[in-house]
């Protein structure tokens, strides 16, 4: 019998309705409560679980006590296996991490967690990519790509996973915004890592062909295209992400998945560079930037790759920006343009136009950037 883990962050989302932009930290939670905020997480988790009740007898649900999963699971008619212990009222990140570790250790097929970016980070810190996970979006901040687009769709995805209709997985970004800075009106998003989530392939019509090629294959094809067209006269700034990773792997170079690396003549100059270091290397030199939209929102610059700052972009020049993305990733934006948030209005405006995006080997599309 398959096993599904469930962790609910009961306080996730409480800051949202009262305009607090998040609930990271005890003081903010107190403030949210004072402002009359009600817990959101359980209600939304219920929407997910309700989509799974028809499979109730086909899998075992493992969860943490009380508000962290037990209560809502029982309310939805499940008889979950409850492990661990929490202090009855206020749970913290430590509880989430503890629960993730313990549930993951029971070799669950999938760990479902309800929360926001902060919760995703906690899950990432606890289990990295050891277990397949899926986020139920209940938090205020949802920058990460590890969440279902809504709680109900999350339930459907888990159902397909349980029925063996979805077998493939992919790595998805865990992003988080610095809440303090966000409250003062400044968005500073960081790419923390990758969690493994179920990969729902889009089926095309039967008979005509099979389903779309998998993400990994498309990423490899993109890398081959980039490498074939590399000009040894240019520095290449390689942005973070799984889409750019195969470029470094195929060149057999050391690299950082989350940082910015620099190469010249297909050799690593230095990895994990800061904005300042990039500028030191490239000022006055011919340079190209290879970037991919980060997370589920389509940000090209300013989220998760702030090292490639407006100063760097200015130095490199708009025409030397190479954008890479799989078609799957572009289609998941539902027609929304790519976004930039460099903190420099002039650069944002400069970049806002139609651009060529490399989507495969000898395969490009024209897409729009906005801000």
């Amino acid at each position: 019998m398959k096993k599904i883990g469930l962790i609910v962050n009961p306080i996730a989302g409480m800051g949202g309705t009262v305009g607090l932009k998040g609930t990271d930290g005890k003081a903010i939670l107190e403030k949210a409560k004072r402002l009359g905020s009600k817990p959101q997480s359980a209600k939304r988790t219920k929407e997910t679980l309700e989509r799974l009740t028809f499979l109730k007898n086909d899998f075992e649900l493992i969860t943490y006590p009380g508000e962290m999963g037990e209560r809502i699971a029982k309310e939805c008619g499940f008889e979950p296996k409850v492990i661990g212990s929490i202090k009855t009222t206020e749970t913290t990140a430590t509880d989430t991490i503890q629960a993730a570790k313990e549930i993951s250790a029971l070799k669950v097929d999938l760990l479902l967690f309800a929360g926001g970016d902060g919760t995703a980070r906690d899950i990432y810190n606890a289990i990295r990519n050891k277990t397949v996970v899926l986020g139920i979006p209940t938090g205020v901040k949802i920058q990460s790509a590890v969440f279902a687009s809504n709680p109900m769709k999350g339930g459907d995805l888990v159902a397909l996973f349980l029925q063996g209709k979805i077998k493939e997985t992919k790595e998805a970004e865990v992003m988080d915004i610095d809440e303090e800075a966000f409250r003062t009106g400044f968005v500073s998003a960081k790419l923390y890592g990758y969690l493994t989530i179920p990969y729902e392939k889009q089926h095309v019509q039967r008979i005509k062909s099979g389903s779309s090629t998998n993400e990994r294959y498309a990423q490899e094809a993109i890398a081959q295209d980039i490498i074939e067209n590399m000009d040894d006269e240019y520095y290449y700034i390689i942005g973070p992400g799984t889409t750019t990773r195969p470029i470094m792997e195929r060149l057999k170079l050391d690299f950082t998945l989350l940082g910015v690396d620099l190469i010249l003549e297909k050799k690593l100059v230095e990895k994990d560079l800061s904005e300042q270091k990039i500028l030191t290397y490239i000022t006055g030199k011919r340079t190209k930037i290879v970037v991919t939209p980060i997370g589920g929102q389509g940000y090209i610059f300013g989220r998760g790759n702030q090292q490639i700052s407006s100063k760097v972009i200015r130095e490199v020049g708009k025409d030397n920006i190479i954008i890479v993305a799989t078609k799957q990733k572009i289609n998941s934006l539902n027609g929304q343009p790519f976004l930039t948030d460099t903190g420099d209005k002039e650069i944002n405006q400069l970049l806002s136009e139609h651009v060529i995006v490399i989507t495969g080997y000898h395969n490009k599309v024209v897409y729009r950037i906005s801000y």
């Binding site: 989509r51 028809f54 809504n150 109900m152 339930g155 459907d156 077998k167 392939k201 889009q202 089926h203 095309v204 019509q205 039967r206 005509k208 062909s209 099979g210 389903s211 779309s212 078609k327 572009i330 289609n331 539902n334 027609g335 136009e353 139609h354 651009v355 060529i356 989507t359 000898h362 395969n363 490009k364 599309v365 024209v366 897409y367 729009r368």
Partner: protein, 516 residues
């Protein structure tokens, strides 16, 4: 019929019929041929010894061995397990232009006067069929405004491939073959417009639609350059939205030295209304098995009739059928020709049927076909939008041409029922519906194309089917999700299609891959 039209209480035959290779019994025969009599052998030989040695196979082919009755039973059973165009209201397979194929045209194609013809006959003995081929060329010239057609390509995909071959030859002749290595298409054009150039070694740039569902002229500006070999585009695209700026597109591509190819596989809303020539195209093709009523034949005898402007007609495949004022003849004298793309002259039965169809309608009749197809489509659009959960993304409130790509996204959000679920449930009522071509830019897509062949009553019947399934999706989603309940097979497993170790397109490959 009215809004309350009841759906059919349909139930399909289910025979659990194996495939014919599995029915084979060693030694079983349909016909036992008599031995050749000595007297005959003395005159014509034994029939084998004159064959070149290298052509004689050492092992007999592993064909299924069955008696006549077994073959008949097998195919009759299979025929009961289909939902053919003549059997259902086939408007759910948008982009494919399912229409009635008049049976009189089948009679023509089945006549011994036609079937006894051989492609190797001297042209003086086949003037009749050459006249038909030549005149169909003239008709399509009038319909497109272009100057010369070939019927060699065996379908739309091959017509696109032939277009790309012409594009390649054209630029090579101008010594720009190396430089022009990019072909531009759009996301809502048929995927083959990007696939064929890829196979030919071109780099492909695809343009995403804007908020109106159309490719943006600004986006095209970004895509064109000295490297542009051609633009291959559909209009209206699969959304059914006509791009009114198409002339600006072709102008922009011509300006940088590229050619423009018009994918008119489906031209059902445009006959006598707009033409490839006036839109600035150098080439176009029509699928005779779509717009021109020849049956689809399940990927069988089809034709992608490919037409070009005078300036590039030298590149067409040979032979072309010409008329010198007295007789019809094959013209092989095209030194720049891309060569042959298919044996002989194309699927001639499809040519004959399309010719007959056009002759029976005349020019005013063809225009009427398009007018009715557009009217039917816009009736259906209005009615589908009244169904809760259905929507038509892009171009809100505007009319569409001959088809619409709809979305069940709202229904999915409300009920969890997907397009795929609905297609399976529609089968329970004897209706065909498909989710349509990739890419999946439109969420939960479905594409309806009523053509001119269906009456209002039939469209209402189909709509009643949709309404019924949507009602079920709200009241009992599990019923829809577990469909079909009254069809041949339950669910199709997509997985082997993604797995090269499993898929097999021949029996031999199947045996090999499954180690039998």
């Amino acid at each position: 019929m009215t809004k309350n039209t009841k759906v059919k209480n349909f139930h399909q035959a289910k025979w659990d019929e194996p495939i014919i290779f599995e029915l084979s019994t060693k030694g079983e025969r349909g016909i036992l041929f008599p031995e050749i009599e000595k007297e005959i052998e003395a005159i014509v030989g034994d029939g084998f010894s004159k064959l070149p040695k290298q052509m004689i196979r050492k092992q007999a082919p592993q064909l299924p061995e069955l008696a006549q009755k077994q073959v008949l039973k097998h195919y009759l059973r299979i025929s009961q397990q289909t939902l053919g165009a003549d059997l259902n209201v086939d408007i759910g397979q948008g982009t494919c232009t399912m229409k009635y194929s008049p049976k009189i045209n089948e009679r023509f194609a089945g006549s011994p006067k036609f079937t006894a013809l051989h492609p190797a006959q001297d042209e003086s003995t086949v003037q009749g069929i050459l006249e038909i081929i030549y005149k169909l060329d003239l008709f399509l010239r009038e319909i497109s405004g272009l100057d010369k057609f070939t019927f060699q390509p065996g379908g739309g995909g091959q017509a696109i491939f032939a277009m790309v071959s012409i594009i390649e030859a054209y630029h090579a002749t101008n010594n720009e073959g190396e430089q022009r290595d990019e072909i531009i298409s759009t996301m809502f054009s048929h995927p083959s417009d990007a696939a064929a150039p890829t196979v030919k070694g071109y780099k492909v740039i695809n343009i995403y639609p804007n908020e109106d569902g159309l490719p943006d002229i600004e986006a095209l500006k970004k895509a064109v350059s000295k490297r542009t070999a051609a633009l291959l585009i559909t209009n209206p695209e699969d959304t059914g939205i006509f791009n009114p700026k198409i002339k600006e597109f072709t102008d922009m591509v011509h300006k940088v030295g590229g050619l423009c190819g018009y994918d008119q596989a489906n031209a059902n809303g445009l006959l006598g209304i707009t033409r490839a020539k006036e839109a600035g195209f150098d080439m176009c093709f029509f699928n005779l098995h779509k717009t021109f009523s020849s049956p689809h034949g399940c990927g069988g005898p089809a034709t992608g009739a490919l037409g070009v402007k005078e300036e590039i007609s030298d590149f067409l495949p040979v032979p072309l059928v010409e008329f010198d004022g007295k007789k019809y003849y094959f013209n092989y004298d095209l030194p720049k020709s891309i060569g042959k793309v298919r044996a002989f002259y194309g699927a001639v039965p499809a040519i004959l049927k399309a010719y007959s169809w056009i002759m029976s309608l005349g020019s005013e009749g063809l225009k009427e076909v398009s007018r009715i197809a557009v009217l039917n489509n816009n009736y259906l659009l209005k009615k589908v939008l009244e169904i809760p959960g259905a929507s038509a993304p892009y171009a809100k409130g505007r009319h569409r041409i001959e088809q619409v790509r709809y979305s069940w996204e709202d229904l999915y959000n409300d009920t969890g029922v997907t397009t795929e679920d609905i297609t399976y449930r529609m089968v329970d009522f004897g209706f065909h519906m498909w989710s349509s071509h990739h890419p999946f830019i439109v969420p939960q897509p479905f594409t309806l194309e009523p053509t001119e062949a269906y009456s209002k009553a039939e469209m209402d019947e189909y709509l009643a089917g949709l309404r019924r399934v949507v009602k079920e999706a709200h009241e009992n989603p599990e019923l829809v999700k577990s469909a079909p309940h009254r069809s041949v097979v339950h669910k199709i497993d997509h997985e082997p299609l993604d797995n090269p170790a499993k898929w097999a397109i021949t029996w031999r490959a199947y045996l090999k891959k499954n180690k039998k």
